[in-house]
C-alpha cells in the first residue's frame, strides 16, 4: 500500500487502520515480519538463559510494529541506524535469522563476525549501519549520513531509531539542530516505550509529548500509535516522502511499549511498573492487532496462521542450529579489523 492510500485510511481507535483498502499480500508480509521477530526474540531469551548468549541483550518484544511498519517502506539503497535494541530491526531490514542469531552467539558467521554481539548488528549490503550502544551517540551519525546523501545529490533517506530517553541527551539536540538547519533527509523515529531502563518518561523529560521537541529545530514533527503497523506505515510514509522529495527531516514519536524487561537482568514488572500496567498494554499486542484485523477481513485463516507460525519456528530453530555450529573466530582475528588497509 502506498503512503498516499495510507493517508486516506480511516482512523478507528484500537484497531488497525487501513481496513478500507486492505492489501492482503502486503498484510501477510507484515505479519510474517512481525511474527518472525517475536519468535526469534523468544528463542533469544531461551538461548540467553542457557548461556549461549552473553553480555547485554535487549529484546524487542512488543515493539515489532515499529520496525516492520517503518522498514517495509524503505528502498534497498536507503539507510538504517539504530540503538542496541536492534535484533528486530535487523530482521525487519532483511538480515537472515541465521546471521543475527550467529552474531548473538558470538560466532564468525554472525553479521559482524561475532565481534559486535547483541548490541552491534551491522550489514553493509543492507545499508544497516549498526546497533549502537551509547545512548544518543548514533543520532549525529544519522545526521552525517543525511549530510552525505545531500552532498552526493542522492534521493535516499536514513531512518534513525532511538528510545525516548535519547531526547534528553545533548547528542540528540545537536544532531536535530543540524538536520533542521541544513535540511537533511533524515527520519528520526523515537520508539517511546515509556521507560528508559526503570525511569519513566515523565520522570526524565520536562515535556511529555516529546515529538514537540522538533519545534525547537524547525522540523516537521508527528506522533503515532506504535502498536498499529498501519499507523506506523502511514506516519513513516509521510516522513519518508518529505525526506525524499524535499530533503526535510521529521521527528516522529511512535508510542509503543516493551513487554519484557529492559535487558535480561531485570524483572519484567514490579519495581518501576506494575503488573497491572503491563497487562493493560499487552492487550494491545501489535501482532494480535494485525492478526485479528486480517482474520476479520477474511485475509487469514487459522490454518494459514498456524502454518506461518510453524514455518517461522522452524526457521528460527534452523538459525539456532546454524549459530551453534558456527565457530568462533580464530585467535589471530583478535588483532584483525582494528585498522583498515589504506588503498587510496
Amino acid at each position: 500500500m502506498s503512503p498516499s492510500t495510507m493517508a486516506a485510511a480511516k482512523k478507528k481507535p484500537d484497531t488497525p487502520k487501513g481496513a478500507a483498502k486492505s492489501d492482503p499480500a502486503l498484510n501477510m508480509e507484515l505479519l510474517h515480519s512481525m511474527l518472525l521477530q517475536r519468535r526469534f526474540e523468544e528463542r533469544t531469551a531461551e538461548a540467553y538463559a542457557l548461556g549461549k548468549i552473553g553480555g547485554f541483550c535487549h529484546l524487542y518484544i512488543g515493539q515489532e510494529a515499529v520496525s516492520t511498519g517503518s522498514l517495509s517502506l524503505l528502498r534497498p539503497d536507503d539507510y538504517v541506524i539504530t540503538t542496541y535494541r536492534d535484533h528486530g530491526q535487523a530482521l525487519a531490514r532483511g538480515m537472515t535469522p541465521r546471521a543475527v542469531m550467529a552474531e548473538l552467539f558470538g560466532r564468525q558467521d554472525g553479521c559482524s563476525k561475532g565481534k559486535g554481539g547483541s548490541m552491534h548488528m551491522f550489514d553493509r549490503n543492507l545499508n544497516f549501519l549498526g546497533g549502537h550502544g551509547i545512548v544518543g551517540g548514533h543520532v549525529p551519525v544519522a545526521a552525517g549520513v543525511g549530510f552525505a546523501i545531500k552532498y552526493r545529490g542522492g534521493d535516499q533517506v536514513i531512518i534513525c531509531f532511538m528510545g525516548e530517553s535519547v531526547v534528553n541527551t545533548g547528542a540528540f539536540h545537536e544532531a536535530l539542530n543540524m538536520a533542521g538547519l541544513w535540511k537533511l533527509p533524515c527520519v528520526f523515529i523515537i520508539e517511546n516505550n515509556r521507560y528508559g531502563m526503570g525511569t519513566a518518561l515523565e520522570r526524565a523529560s520536562a515535556i511529555h509529548d516529546i515529538y514537540e521537541r522538533g519545534a525547537a529545530y524547525n522540523m516537521r514533527r508527528a506522533q503515532c500509535d506504535g502498536q498499529d503497523v498501519f499507523a506506523v506505515r502511514e506516519a513513516v510514509g509521510e516522513a519518508i516522502e518529505l525526506a525524499r522529495k524535499e530533503q526535510a527531516p521529521t521527528l516522529l514519536e511512535v508510542r509503543t511499549y516493551r513487554f519484557m524487561g529492559h535487558s535480561m537482568s531485570d524483572a519484567v514488572s514490579g519495581t518501576y511498573r506494575t503488573k497491572a500496567e503491563l497487562e493493560e498494554y499487552m492487550k494491545r499486542d501489535p501482532i494480535v492487532l494485525l492478526r485479528t484485523r486480517m482474520q476479520e477481513n477474511g485475509e487469514l485463516t487459522d490454518e494459514q496462521l498456524a502454518k506461518m507460525d510453524e514455518d517461522i519456528k522452524a526457521q528460527v530453530q534452523d538459525a539456532w542450529d546454524f549459530a551453534d555450529a558456527s565457530p568462533e573466530l580464530p585467535a589471530e582475528a583478535l588483532y584483525e579489523d582494528v585498522y583498515a588497509d589504506t588503498h587510496t
Binding site: F122, G130, G137, H138, P140, A171, V338, D341, T342
Partner: protein
C-alpha cells in the same frame, strides 16, 4: 625550495586533497566564511563552495558525529576542532564511534576521516585552553595520532591522514602556525607511523614530537656548543609509535631524554620509556629522564606558566643530567 608557514602548509595539504578527491570536505566552526579560526582554510569557501567547506554551529559532539556518519557511507571528512580542548565535548564520537566502528562491525565499516586542530598551550590562555591531548588519544586502538612539528611534516602528514582509511587525529601546534620552513610545491606524503631523525648525534637521544621538536632542536644547537652531540628523534606519529627509530637511536647513544608537552602521568613519554627499558635495558648508561608539563592545570600567571611548561633550559638540564655533567 619555497619557505612557507606551518599554517599554509596545512592549508595547502587540505586544498590539494580536496582538488584531488571530491569526497574530501572540511567541516567545523568558522572554517568557511571566517576563513578558519586560525586561517588555515583561507579562500576555501570561494574555491569549493559551501557544501564542501561547511560552517557548523558550536556543536562539537554533533559535527564530529556528522563526520562519522559521512565517513561511514564513503565520504572523507576533515573535521576541524577550533582547538582540541573543545574536542572533549566530542570525544564520544572520536572514541566510541570512529575508533570502534570497523572492529565492532566485523570489518565492514571503515572510517576514512580526519579530526584536526590546534593542541597544547599557547601563551597565557590559562587552564582550559592550554592542554596537550595526545596521550589520551594515543591510548585508543583504532585511532592514529599524528603531531607534526614542522611545515614540511605538517603538509606531508596531513595529506597522508586524509588519504588514510582510518580515523586520524592530527594535533597541530597553536604556537607553530606562524613558524616557517621549506616545503616543496605540489604533492608529497609522509607515511604515518614513521619517525624522523631530525638531528644526528651520538651522545644522547632526545625523543619528542609536535611543538617540542623545535625545543629539542634548539637544545641540540645549544648543547653542540659544549661539544655534546644529540640525536633528535621526532616521532611525528604517536600512534602507532615508531619503536624501531627510538631503539636504534638509543642503542647508539645509550642515553635518552623524552620531551613532551603534556603531563607526566601516563604521558606519551612514559610509553617511550617503557619501550626503551624493554629493548635497551643492558645498553643504558643512565636512567631515562622525562621533560613534560608540571603536574598542575596551566596557570595564567606569566611566571608560573613559564615554570609549568617544558622548555629549552629544562631540556638542556635533562640532557646534562643523563650525561652526568651536572
Amino acid at each position: 625550495m619555497p619557505v612557507i608557514t606551518y599554517r599554509d602548509a596545512l592549508g595547502d595539504a587540505i586544498r590539494e586533497e580536496m582538488r584531488r578527491d571530491d569526497r574530501v570536505f572540511l567541516m567545523g566552526e568558522e572554517v568557511a566564511v571566517y576563513n578558519g579560526a586560525y586561517k588555515v582554510s583561507k579562500g576555501f569557501l570561494q574555491e569549493f563552495g559551501e557544501m564542501r567547506v561547511v560552517d557548523t554551529p558550536i556543536t562539537e559532539l554533533g559535527f564530529a558525529g556528522v563526520g562519522v556518519g559521512a565517513a561511514m557511507v564513503g565520504l572523507r571528512p576533515v573535521i576541524e576542532f577550533m582547538t582540541w580542548n573543545f574536542a572533549l565535548l566530542a570525544i564520544d564520537q572520536v572514541v566510541n564511534a570512529a575508533a570502534k566502528m570497523l572492529y565492532m562491525s566485523g570489518g565492514q565499516f571503515n572510517m576514512p576521516m580526519v579530526f584536526r586542530g590546534p593542541n597544547g598551550a599557547a601563551l597565557q590562555l590559562a587552564a582550559q585552553h592550554s592542554q596537550a591531548w595526545e596521550s589520551w588519544l594515543a591510548h585508543i586502538p583504532g585511532l592514529k595520532v599524528v603531531a607534526p612539528g614542522t611545515p614540511y611534516d605538517a603538509k606531508g602528514l596531513l595529506k597522508s591522514a586524509i588519504r588514510d582509511d582510518n580515523p586520524v587525529c592530527v594535533l597541530e601546534g597553536e604556537m607553530l602556525y606562524n613558524t616557517k620552513g621549506e616545503v616543496p610545491e605540489g604533492d608529497y606524503t609522509i607515511p604515518l607511523g614513521k619517525a624522523d631523525l631530525k638531528r644526528e648525534g651520538d651522545h644522547c637521544t632526545i625523543v619528542t614530537h609536535g611543538k617540542m621538536v623545535l625545543v629539542a632542536m634548539q637544545a641540540a644547537d645549544q648543547l653542540a656548543k659544549d661539544g655534546i652531540r644529540v640525536d633528535v628523534v621526532d616521532l611525528r606519529t604517536v600512534r602507532p609509535i615508531d619503536v624501531d627509530a627510538i631503539v636504534t637511536s638509543v642503542k647508539k647513544t645509550n642515553r635518552a631524554v623524552v620531551l613532551e608537552e603534556g603531563w607526566e602521568l601516563c604521558g606519551v613519554g612514559a610509553q617511550v620509556v617503557d619501550y626503551v627499558q624493554r629493548e635497551c635495558f643492558d645498553l643504558l648508561d643512565a636512567p631515562v629522564v622525562r621533560v613534560h608539563q608540571a603536574d598542575v592545570p596551566m596557570p595564567y600567571t606569566k611566571s608560573l606558566e613559564k615554570a609549568a611548561k617544558p622548555d629549552l633550559p629544562k631540556t638542556i638540564a635533562a640532557v646534562r643530567k643523563v650525561m652526568y655533567l651536572d
